[in-house]
């Protein structure tokens, strides 16, 4: 009775590759990114300079990693407001470890463990105690940021060994190292979502949690893992940022959770769960980063920047709805 359509949630097998590429939701977002970049270049040609592209791609990398955090969480129809604070907190724990002269590898592990701990706390409260994700992660946003201030008393930690800074400032084949770290994270996330049962279950939970549970899938455990993963990814961003700034600062990551959520949503992730992709989140993060960078280059006032970013987010959501409407009728 209703028209047959193919699953967009994950892969579809027998459609030709090119048609698939053009019909994919990611394609239209990618077009939008190109248009935005073209517009910025027309107004401010320096956008396309090697130096600027280097800076933009590095900046986008930090955001894109936590956009992937949000992707996983939002796919299960959840939300994680704590990633920005966890970026800050993991940076600080890593910084303290480095300042204390602990081996950099161990310091990185301490940073990752910080994210794992906050993430597991979030996950347990959400999946096993049953508190809503919004409240749990809002609480963690405040607690993690509070912990940052307690640990630093507001002072930056600057005793970072020079060798460590490669992580944030180095380049490989002319590309910023953070971009390569993002690439590894993104490829792994893509593989996990597409080829591992864990990923399929993440989509399934967002599509219909009750049905997934009744199919014998341990929904609670998956959710716990998703929230832990989300904060571990946030701590990766936090660690590279320490290397990038040569210091751990208390205010790093503030309100980043909102940019990360926006990036995921611009990239076509549905807040209702079950729909979204790594590629989409990456393009979404790129759009956010390019616009921010472009506004600076075009010498738009800081006050207007804030306004325009907000408008882009709402616009993206509207376009998504219109596109779905057209697809359905």
């Amino acid at each position: 009775m209703t028209p047959k359509k193919n699953a967009q949630a994950t892969s579809s097998g027998d459609v030709s590759l090119i048609r698939k590429m053009f019909s994919a939701q990611e394609f239209s977002i990618f077009l939008a990114l190109l248009l935005i970049a073209a517009f910025i270049t027309a107004v401010a040609p320096s956008f396309m300079s090697t130096r600027n592209l280097f800076l933009v791609s590095r900046q986008v990398s930090f955001l894109a990693i936590i956009a992937i955090s949000e992707l996983f969480v939002i796919l299960t129809a959840g939300i994680d407001l704590s990633v920005g604070s966890v970026v800050g907190l993991s940076g600080v724990t890593t910084g303290i470890a480095l300042a204390a002269g602990i081996h950099p590898v161990l310091a990185v592990l301490i940073g990752l463990a910080t994210g794992a701990v906050t993430g597991v706390i979030n996950g347990v409260l959400i999946a096993y105690v049953g508190v809503t994700p919004f409240i749990v992660t809002l609480g963690m946003l405040s607690m993690a940021r509070g912990m940052v201030w307690i640990l630093t008393k507001g002072w930056p930690i600057t005793e970072i060994p020079p060798g460590f800074m490669v992580l944030g400032q180095g380049r490989v084949l002319g590309l910023p190292l953070p971009l390569l770290i993002l690439a590894v994270v993104a490829v792994l996330a893509y593989i996990v979502l597409k080829y591992l049962p864990f990923g399929r279950r993440v989509y399934a939970i967002g599509g219909n949690e009750r049905a997934t549970e009744l199919s014998g899938i341990n929904v609670r455990r998956i959710k716990l893992m998703v929230y832990a993963l989300s904060n571990i990814l946030a701590s990766i961003t936090g660690i590279i940022l320490v290397a990038r700034f040569s210091s751990a600062q208390a205010s790093v990551g503030e309100t980043w959770e909102l940019d990360a959520i926006a990036a995921a949503v611009i990239g076509g992730t549905s807040l209702a769960g079950g729909k979204g992709s790594v590629l989409g989140a990456l393009i979404g993060a790129a759009i956010m980063g390019v616009i921010r960078n472009g506004l600076v280059l075009m010498k738009v006032s800081v006050y207007w920047q804030q306004f325009i970013i907000g408008m882009v987010i709402v616009l993206a959501a509207i376009i998504d709805i219109l596109r779905n409407r057209r697809g359905r009728s």
Partner: protein
């Protein structure tokens, strides 16, 4: 006199499907017309055009002899056409009267909602309809049948002159159906035209004046109810003779006890449920809606916490704390509520079928093995004759019967020892129903033990080796096939106390 509503040569195509071709339908004042057809025959599309959800590609709709075009459900409402959907559309957190007046709340002097006026009008409405529901009770507290009454009352409060009822009896017990039919007769006397969509032929003969049969989007025939019979209608629906719809099962179940419940109790009111399920046995579980049948299934699956008693599998007690434990021990549950509890609608047939067997379709590195997965799915697509153009079809786009086959496939893939089937043929057409029955008996013949929950007594009687009857959360009777009759089951299901 012009008919109340007349649809002339309506055609409608969806991408890739001609859903309707030149179908005409007429409803006169005070007439009950039944629209029959297998799922996918075009019934719902036709009704959606009449109610303004879809627009026809060609063809005309007349109301009282004047041509009308509905671009929205709102416009159809304004011309007196209301629909009571299969899935009830009430807000369960609001009261009956709030639902009836939703969007056009009665206001008092200063613009605040006037509950007293709403209550008075609702009570008047209910009493003229003979609906036994309190105006200020929360809808969540009402049974399905009562919710339906509220919904019908709501339609009438819109001055509805034609009411479309989409399978209104699918979740009602026979007593509730009687009440519904009494209400329909009353509406008929008042001159309301009713379009009634049902799969149950016996109901058609009880209530309808005229029957319109659709097949593959076209009109297959139109009969006055008094001039036709079941065999003829089935013939029109399927385009072939089906023979006997319900065939008695021949095979004998084994004597090994596979699952045993010992005084199992749980929410909301299940108490001391004890029974044995043998290998290859089909154990019918009968009872009125609300007797606790689905709740018992949920308890066995570990979706609800038991408050007492034990479940034994293969001779030893087992702890089932969550559905994953049940599935791991070889228990499967085909839910009565496909859309809410069994399927991930936006996922593909492939992903839904393999949902419960991920470990079995992985390669040695723990990644999905696409070929293995396709093979598993194809096996069930063939075996259960699921009609799809590709494994990648989204289950949302399938007919009810095919969706149900996807759910059954999901559980068959787990090779269950015990399969709980909860209303396995609800809302699916005659052809698919016969197939599902064949699948069930086939499973039992292959040694799967089946707990069959069904509101259709004929179905229970035709398939079951033994029948359990639940009443108000307690087991009231266990009947062997030889002693089970519709009358005995119903009397046990209705029995108060012990």
């Amino acid at each position: 006199m012009a008919p109340l509503v007349e649809m002339q040569e309506i055609s409608k195509a969806f991408p890739g499907v001609q859903a309707l071709s030149e179908v005409s339908l007429r409803v006169n004042t005070g007439e009950i017309v039944c629209v029959l057809g297998e799922n996918g025959a075009g019934k719902s599309t036709l009704m959606k055009i009449l109610s303004g959800v879809h627009q026809a590609d060609s063809g005309k709709v007349f109301v009282d002899g004047t041509e009308r075009q509905f671009k929205s459900t709102q416009e159809a409402y304004e011309f007196g056409i209301s629909t009571v959907y299969q899935e009830l559309n009430l807000c369960s957190n609001l009261t009956a009267m709030e639902n009836i007046f939703i969007g056009r709340e009665q206001r008092g002097a200063v613009g605040f909602i006037s509950y007293s006026r709403m209550q008075k009008e609702t009570e008047e409405l209910f009493s003229t309809l003979g609906v036994d529901v309190q105006a200020d009770v929360r809808v969540a507290k009402l049974g399905v049948a009562q919710q339906q009454m509220v919904e019908i009352a709501k339609a009438l409060s819109f001055q509805a002159r034609v009411i479309i009822m989409d399978e209104p009896t699918s979740s009602l017990t026979s007593r509730e159906i009687d009440t519904l039919f009494t209400l329909m007769e009353r509406l008929k006397k008042e001159g309301v035209g009713i379009i009634f969509i049902s799969h149950k032929l016996s109901e058609v003969f009880r209530i309808a004046d005229r029957v319109v049969v659709l097949r593959d989007g076209a009109l297959a025939g139109e009969r006055n109810t008094v001039e036709t019979n079941e065999q003829e209608l089935i013939g029109l629906m399927v385009g072939r003779d089906l023979g006997e719809l319900f065939s008695q099962r021949q095979n004998k179940p084994g004597t090994d006890v596979v699952m045993e419940l010992k005084e199992l109790s749980g929410p909301p009111k299940l108490e001391d449920i004890s029974f044995k399920l043998h290998k290859g046995e089909i154990l019918g579980l009968s009872g009125l809606v609300g007797a606790g049948r689905t709740e018992l299934a949920m308890l066995i699956m570990g979706a609800e916490k038991k408050t007492g008693g034990q479940i034994w599998l293969d001779g030893s007690p087992v702890e089932i704390r969550k559905p994953a434990d049940a599935v791991q021990r070889g228990i499967g549950y085909v839910s009565e509520d496909r859309k809410q509890l069994a399927l991930v609608l936006e996922m593909s047939v492939r992903e839904n079928v393999t949902m419960a067997v991920h470990p079995r379709i992985l390669n040695r590195f723990g990644f999905f093995d696409a070929d293995k997965e396709k093979e598993v799915v194809q096996q069930f697509v063939n075996r259960l004759r699921i009609k799809i153009s590709s494994q990648e079809n989204v289950v949302e786009s399938l007919s009810g019967g095919n969706q149900q086959k996807v759910v059954i496939s999901k559980w068959l893939a787990t090779e269950p020892k015990v399969l709980i089937l909860d209303e396995p043929t609800r809302g699916i057409d005659v052809g698919a129903k016969a197939e599902v029955h064949r699948i069930i008996t086939d499973l039992a013949d292959h040694g799967v033990s089946i707990l069959l929950i069904s509101s259709e007594l004929q179905e229970v009687l035709a398939l079951s080796d033994r029948v359990l009857v639940l009443h108000e959360g307690r087991l009231k009777a266990t009947l062997d096939r030889s002693e089970a009759t519709q009358e005995r089951i119903m009397s046990a299901a209705l029995k108060e106390g012990r």
